[in-house]
């Protein structure tokens, strides 16, 4: 498990443009967030009361030595964490599905089947697919949505990370939300 200073160091190196540090940072943060999310899900059995953005913030407080990092580093961290978070969520949803159709497919009781249908795992997978589709259509908008949705970045923070105006971020965010909503609703209705 990476220590606070490791992560902070990686963050600083990545900030200076070190690609390897950036990759390593993402991996470390991914591991960390996965762990935290798993704990959170265990704690609150109501599955997706898991607040992605709150978790990212918590991770920041836990992993980064705030005395050594300025706002830029903090924003950078959150951007990385947003990416990690989206991966964690989709992995979680997928692994639950895998479990569902894997070894214990016979044992799913009627009751469980309903409970499963209620969780947002399918939504999560739809969301992931929609996000992938968006990435192909409009890369920047995808980044904006990822940062805001999973990392909880404000539009100013996202603007600074992406080197665009916050008005552009707002436009992308507005379009992105509506587009996602439509994509997911239609995906759901087309499914039968």
């Amino acid at each position: 498990m990476p220590s606070e200073s490791d992560i902070t160091q990686l963050l600083e190196d990545a900030g200076r443009g070190n690609q390897r540090a950036a990759d390593e940072l993402l991996e470390s943060v991914y591991e960390e967030i996965r762990e935290m999310a798993a704990n959170a899900l265990r704690r609150e059995r109501s599955c997706h009361t898991l607040q992605a953005t709150a978790l990212v913030h918590e991770a920041y407080l836990k992993l980064v030595d705030q005395t050594r990092v300025d706002w830029k580093g903090a924003t950078h961290f959150k951007a990385v964490a947003a990416k990690a978070m989206s991966r964690v969520l989709i992995d979680h949803a997928r692994s639950k599905n895998r479990e569902k159709r894997g070894g214990n497919w016979r044992k799913v009781t009627l009751h469980d089947a309903f409970a499963l249908a209620k969780t947002n795992d399918l939504d999560m997978i739809c969301l992931h697919e929609a996000m992938e589709k968006m990435r192909k259509l409009d890369k920047r908008q995808h980044q904006v949505v990822e940062l805001r949705l999973f990392g909880g970045l404000t539009s100013d923070e996202a603007a600074k990370i992406l080197h665009v105006s916050s008005r552009t971020v707002d436009r992308d965010w507005k379009m992105g939300q509506v587009w996602l909503r439509r994509e997911m609703n239609e995906g759901a209705s087309a499914d039968e």
Partner: protein, 968 residues
Amino acid sequence: MSDRYQQAKDLFLKVCDLKPSERAAILDKECVDDPDLRAEVESLLAHRDAPTVSLEFDSSLESQPISNPDDGPKRTHIGSYRVIHELGKGGMGVVYLAVSDDKIKHRVAIKVVKRGMDTEQVLQRFELERQLLSAMNHPGIARFIDAGQTEDGLPYLVMEYVEGQPIDEYCNVRRLDINERLVIFRKVCAAVHYAHQNLVVHRDLKPSNIIVSPDGEPKLLDFGIAKLLNPELSIIKGDPTAPEFRVMTPEYASPEQVRGYPLTTVSDVYSLGVLLYELMSGHRPYHLRSRVQAEIVRAICEDVPEKPSTSISRVESTRDSTAPGTTATVTPESVSKERESRPEKLKKLLAGDIDNIVLMAMRKEPQRRYSSAEQLSDDIGRHLDGLPVISCGDSLSYRFNKFVHRHRMGVAAALVIALSLMGGIIGTTWQAQIAANERDIAQQAQADEIKQRQLAETERAKADRRFDQVRSLANTFMYDFHDAIVKLEGSIPARQLLVTTALEYLDNLAQEVGDNVELKRELASAYDHVGQIRMSIRNPSVGDISGALENYRKGLGLRQELLTASPKDQILSFEVSVSRLHIADMLMLTGDSTEAVAEYREVMRLRELLLSLDSKWKRHYSLSINALGKALLNIGKIKEAKKYYFEYLAISEELAAETPGDIILQRDLSIAYFRIAGRLARVGDNQGALDFYLRALGIRKILLEKDPDTGRAKRDLASAHLFLSQTYVALNNMEAATEHCQQCISIYKKRVLDSPKAVRPQFNLALGLYMSGNIDFQIGNWEQARTSYLEFNSVIEPLSNSRPKITKYRQYLAVSFSSLGDVAVETDDPNGAISDYRKALEIFESLVAKDPDDVRWPSQRARAQLKIGSTLLLFDDFVEARSLLLSAQETFASLLKTQAEDVEIRGGVVTALKQLAKLSAKQNKIREAQQYVQDALLLLDDAPELFETTELRKELNADLDRYRNENN
């Protein structure tokens, strides 16, 4: 594509914050020649304006509003509507009059649901319902406009605001006579019928929900809203002071509604009947003096209402509907005056047709009511025209017509049933409570001598009703409806719902059966059927073995009880054997083979006994020894199994010989040969399989000669050739395999030419091509194999694409990719192989995802994983290889638990373990490799008979030796 996207995005952002009218102006201008662009932007706008819950949890950075028990703040705005004033408070929340913020200033009624109701669920239910509700566009139905969530998190519904008076008040104040009332009532029926055709059930029809405009046009409020706000509305919770209870107006609720059973369109017909009762007579059908739940339920479910023409003589004090809180006395005179009539004249007007129509609409048993609001309205129409009406006295002869009624309800009703099931109207505990209450009441009443006779009547009526219920349940739900959806892909969740609901009825009924023999018998069959839905060998089933077992056992218990009472009843004895057969099937699946064999033996014993009494049981006896044989094979008693197989065959042949001219029996015999052959092939006895396929071929040749013009005979013959070809491949006789394969292909090709548009011949041809590829592959003619597989692929791919729902096509499309992958491996193109295999895997993944409960796909998927994993070993891609191989091994191992005799599945685990060993060895984990091989060998030892002829054991032993040497 991306440019189009930017174009739409720019335009969307330009107009999205504008008012609708301004939006339209800009869209008109910008999309003059580009309707697609406009459609895209409008679709985005629709989603901007739509409420959504799907992203709720992600954007939850803002703190959640804390629930507060009050009705909330004074509201000035709700969504994009400005609140004018409060219209009223109800059990569900507050209703406001509001206007839309745009120029048009529509007046709307907004219902804000009060705190304490689960917001998320209301909105989710809304998402399901909104399409149905917003599709309703009828002048007699208040339009449903929108829904959303207030800033403080309460769900609200926006509906057309309707001005006027409730229908009862309207009629009374204007002193409408009976015919005028009937005319308005028919308009109500028309609106209700329209909604039913749109699959929406009102569930809460009552005068206050039917507003008549000053010019006499009724409009129905709150269609489908009852369900939206509270899917359990139909169920009265234990506490009669609970808000749900007060919300529901029990006077208008149907028996099925107060009992918490699923509601259908005819539940609304019932409520219409009560409404008509009241409009006609000025009285309500039941004297609901108390609000005690059991009392209400009893009255609604058991009391026979007075005829409307009789009820007008009653003198009652009721709450005055025009002045809340006060009471009014209703007398024959006051009622008649409100109808521009005199008591004697009114009585005459109502007696006969009107009485019959009202009481038919209000029948306790849904299937005996009018089958639709339209039918009710038509009957009133006939009365108004002076024609004879279809309703008539409540006579026993109706009981024989109810099945006809059931069918008239048709598919729409069945769908509505399903939809209400989806809404989750389930209330076991409550139902049990009702049952208990009923019993309590019954016991009290026994003390009373006069009541005792009534009670006997009631009990009989109850038994009759229950009998009807189990019938209509078993037939409509479990047979018609279930059978209609059983072959649909992905229907398992719906069937699961049917099962749970059905079971609640059944368990409920089981408590009350008493000594009604007929009912017990029905009940036992119903349990049997539910069991088959849960787990059956023939049809796709839910896969819930232990649940099914429980059902079968319950059915068996009932049947055995009955048999003890009448031990000479052959049918009963047979039914007991059927229950046992099913139980044995389940035990086989759970791996309790020894127990299963014991059950099968009992089945055989019972049927042997039957056979000694009457030769008509011969066929059933033969089926029982067939099943026993299969089970014996499973526990390794192969010799005994073979004995039964041959006895089974002997009887089938005997039966066919008894009526030699009978084509169907002959064909059945050929199918029996097929089954046995398949069975033998499955356990590796290809020589035995060949023998039986040849016999089947012989029969089918004769059948074709007898009947040369039918497609079926040709198809049957071709499939015999196909399977013979496959068997010869397994026996390594390529010459014979080729010959049969060509025969089969030539028949199929001709059939494709004969009917180029038919799908089935194409599919069969594809299978022939697949076989042809397999033969070349076996010989080592890689290129020819590839050509056949490609042809196979090119036939199956369009089939699969044009009919994506048919899993069989997708399955064989995957098989075609997988076969091409096999050729690629052999021709040293591992990259190509992996890419082909991945295509196959993707399809199998999607099949698994689509229907996780179907047993066939996991093993196919595992096979694809095994192939990819094994090929990846060539590239030393250990990480992915290991994960795929482990996944395959796990899948096969879990399947093996229930299908121990299956060569392919057992072979699958063994191969996966073998490959895992290879992988471990490559990574120098020799000890681990040894362990894998040992595990594999143990698995082969578990079923020594199955693998006598395979090379696998030899290979594994060689591997083990090699790893041992490497370790030293």
